[in-house]
């Protein structure tokens, strides 16, 4: 029963990842096209195939090295010293229970309680947890959190979520750059070109404004159902819903938004690192209270 759920989820995540890679590539291509048009229209015929190659390399390396990017963006360090033996044992135990190979363990120095998983498949996956999480949670609670992350790995959420972080993160940066170059270009004298150019300029501006909003929306759209599902299938590994529920309770009480990470990676985390409970409509994570309630009625 759970097996079909997993293979359905795996197929869905792979499909979504391909779709995302294609659409981000196209958006990037058009963004570059507009940039070229305004800055170096003479070279556009040579520049476009080059930019196409760059985009393909970029998309592939996001797939291949996305986890490295995310781990360094969150300042996670390998947990290979003796003091983290307990964490490594817990990760190994739960990956044995779920039948995947053991992910690499990482730690983030922070008093906040949080964790995330990243990678492209179970053979190339990593789990990072904060030092606050290791120090505050007891064994059952830690197992609950790790079980949740192992489920993300097993059903390939990590592939899609890492791609969103890396691909979308850069799209936001580039559109940011476009706005700047348009400001810059406006000062130079390009008004001798006709109204069509102004039309394109407007479109370019709209694009540059839409890109970050669209990327934000993608981030918001992806997480909520996944988190509930990972909670449920994580618990099917530990067989102890209360462990995860009380971990969430501790997290709700102790987190103060002390992890400083970019918006581009916040959706990867176990609970929202910013933890602003203001707009639940756009939140990347379902409210902690709701997650606890669902766990306690299991």
């Amino acid at each position: 029963m759970l097996k079909t759920t997993f293979s359905d989820e795996i197929a869905k995540n792979k499909r979504l990842s391909i779709l995302l890679a294609i659409s981000v590539s196209l958006i990037l291509f058009f963004l570059i096209y507009f940039m070229m048009y305004f800055l170096i229209p003479e070279l556009i015929l040579i520049a476009l195939p080059i930019s196409a190659i760059i985009i393909i390399i970029y998309t592939y390396s996001s797939y291949r090295f996305g986890d490295t990017v995310v781990l360094s963006a969150t300042n996670a360090k390998p947990a290979d010293t003796k003091e983290y033996q307990y964490l490594r044992d817990t990760i190994e135990g739960l990956s044995i229970a779920s039948g995947i190979s053991t992910p690499k363990a990482y730690v983030i120095q922070s008093e906040d309680l949080n964790a995330f998983a990243t990678g492209r498949n179970p053979e190339n996956a990593s789990i990072a947890v904060t030092t606050g999480l290791i120090n505050t949670l007891n064994r059952q609670e830690l197992e609950g959190v790790i079980g949740h992350e192992i489920s993300h790995i097993k059903n390939r959420d990590i592939l899609f979520m890492t791609l969103v972080a890396v691909l979308v993160g850069l799209a936001a940066i580039i559109s940011h750059l476009i706005i700047r170059s348009l400001w810059f270009g406006a000062r130079q004298d390009r008004r001798d070109k006709n109204g069509f150019m102004i039309f394109l300029l407007i479109i370019g501006v709209i694009f540059a404004i839409i890109a970050p909003i669209a990327t934000r929306l993608v981030q918001y759209a992806i997480s909520r159902k996944r988190e509930y599902l990972a909670d449920a299938s994580g618990v099917s590994l530990t067989r102890y819903p209360e462990g995860l529920a009380s971990a969430l309770e501790k997290i709700a009480n102790k987190n103060k938004g002390r992890i400083n990470v970019s918006d581009a990676v916040s959706h990867l985390f176990f609970v929202d690192p910013k933890q602003t409970s203001l707009d639940s409509l756009f939140a990347t994570h379902p409210p902690i209270k709701e997650r606890i309630k669902r766990l306690r009625t299991m």
Partner: protein, 183 residues
């Protein structure tokens, strides 16, 4: 004309049956292999434990020589872990778990031993392995359940031939009863 229709229908039906046969044959094999793989996981942990126990016993002996009875029990259970059927080996492993518990209880009486770094490390490692054995057993039983399900339910059972249900690894009595918390 009708001959063509019947011929075509027959071909489709036979084709479908062959595809189903292939699918279920492979599926049953894959699920069976998964049980074997799960056992290999348990095996790895049992061996690790087998190798660690003598170190622990030597460390404890250095401080508590006269607790002979417990050492013998530990040695006996340890030996059983590497020979015999799966069920027997798991029984020995469970037995070792409970004798180790009493060994650690004995160690409580020797403050110098308890403070020994090496002893602490061994205790931690053994606890870690015990947990991993428990998880590996869970994966084993989940794999057995999946296998048993496919060979006993329709349509899998039509393709299972004379395959019989695989046995679960049973859980020791003490783990089955709910944990009591005392204050």
């Amino acid at each position: 004309m009708t001959l063509w229709i019947f011929g075509g229908l027959a071909a489709i039906i036979i084709g479908a049956i062959i595809i189903l046969l292939f699918y279920y044959y492979n599926r049953i094999r894959i699920l069976y292999n998964r049980i074997e793989e799960a056992w290999a996981q348990i095996d790895v942990q049992l061996k690790k434990r087998y190798d660690l126990v003598p170190n622990l016993v030597e460390t404890v002996k250095g401080y508590a020589k006269h607790e002979k009875e417990i050492f013998e029990k530990v040695a006996e259970a340890r030996q059983g872990m590497i020979s015999g059927s799966r069920e027997e080996r798991m029984d020995s492993s469970n037995q070792l778990t409970s004798t180790l518990k009493s060994l650690f209880a004995v160690a409580e009486n020797y403050p110098i031993l308890k403070a020994n770094e090496n002893f602490k490390l061994l205790q931690e490692q053994l606890e870690g392995i015990e947990n991993k054995i428990a998880y590996a057993r869970q994966y084993y039983n989940t794999s057995v359940l999946n296998y048993n399900n496919i060979i006993t339910t329709i349509p899998g059972s039509w393709f299972a031939g004379n395959r019989t249900k695989h046995a679960f690894l049973t859980i020791p009595e003490e783990e089955r009863s709910p944990v009591k918390v005392k204050f």
